[in-house]
Amino acid sequence: MNNELLIGVLGLQGDIEENIKATTNALKEMNLKGKVLSVRYPEEIMKIDGLIIPGGESTVMGLLIAIKNGLLDAITKILQEGLPVMGTCAGMIVLAKKSYDKIVGNKRQLLLGVLDIEVERNSFGRQYDSFESKLNISGIGNDYKGIFIRAPTVISVGPQVEILSKFDEKIVAVKQENIIGTSFHPELSGDYRMHRLFIQLVTNWKDANKGHQNF
């Protein structure tokens, strides 16, 4: 039995390396052993103990998930098993049940639909209105540097969803059992507490499920 955690960052498009670096640093801060790698193939997805879907463009990631044989099935399977997953910005959109764009309305796009929320894309406006500001996140503190880049927000949540943070009355971080979604980019802040929160979920899940097949 291997106790080393194996965390995958969905390696299709976006700030993949930034999430790998943030997760690696978070593991170090927690004194945990683990590997973090970019995953793009079904067989890689089946080996991991936790998945991060990075920032980028949600439409592009959806398209690339659908196009590779077996990739959508593999991701769906691990999510059904309750494997911890975190989506940052575009990643949260991909996890959501419903989405629409604030400016152009409904867009056809692939959503994994496991996180019971509706998201509004580009909720604060376009890049001109992208911003950084301190956030209050429950379980973390009121000094978290939130980096919002053409960020989505959560418009409505299902009964299982816990709201972790709001900014300007908009929901910007949520948790539903083993799923975390953030409007902002914890991987760019240099503050690894959000990634640590996720790793804690991965550790708990691995302890309870004796890990995936990676021993």
Binding site: R40, L64, E132, S133, L188
Partner: protein, 323 residues
Amino acid sequence: MTISQAGSYPSSKGIKISTVDTKEVLCGTALIKRGFAHMQKHGVIMDVTNVEQAQIAEDAGAVAVMVLDKLPYDVRHAGGVARTASVKVIQSILDSVSIPIMAKCRIGHSSEASILEEIGVDMVDESEVLSPADENRHIWKWNYTTPFVNGAKNLGEALRRIEEGAAMIRTKGEPGTGDVSQAVAHIRMVNNEIKKIKGIYDNNDDQELIRISREIQSSFEIVKETGKLGRLPVVNFAAGGISTPADAALLMKLGCDGIFVGSGIFKAEDPLERAKAVVIATTYFDDPKTVLEAQKMIDEKKSMLGLDTKNLDLKMQERGPTI
């Protein structure tokens, strides 16, 4: 911090400060501008001239679209002065696609850039594809809240543009030719220069770093930081002459963070399939089987014929201020 602050200018006019619930909110910081560019990584940005093309690009998986009046190939054939695209066209694209929208302005034309910022484009490309408006100075990009991308054919150019406020760099290549050789030459040049500087940095030889920074006409601070990072302080994309999935994969292999495709898609006869194929090859550039799958999606008989870069009337890469 994951994003380097090298070369940034903290007191820039482009930073907008406001307050929400007693909390300070900052727009247009180097982090927010460079962060936007980081979100484009591993993606393909496609040149478009109208709403229909923008829609095709979005459906094919483009990470963003770049709006211009004429594709680079057509700029060469039309001659005359190439300016920023019609406001109406840009607005109609802003109203119809959900991915980021970039637009080109002329080198040094700070008014065209302001207009693009006012319309609300997500990034401005100060581009040599258009006719330069100032032969001595580029735009001082720290004055804008909107991020900029600039072209570069060597490290000195790249670092000077970053010090002027560019949040992203792309190779210049030779646009509109369908020939990748110049883009390859430019990324190789930048990579080799960085490798050299990194070696000198690792040797703690500041005197040599100062000498090189004078040689490549950039500041010592940014040259040193580049040596420390072992890469450019901002995201670096390939551009200029990319026409096939194999071209995209080649430039990704050389270490580019993503791809711009200009004439290569909409001057070909199979734009939708080709656009999709370039997106797939960019993501899976290091997997020959998947690049082959992507290459199968296009027909070489439908590629743009292209132009010989040795016999061009206009070398776009050589336009604009030399400093």
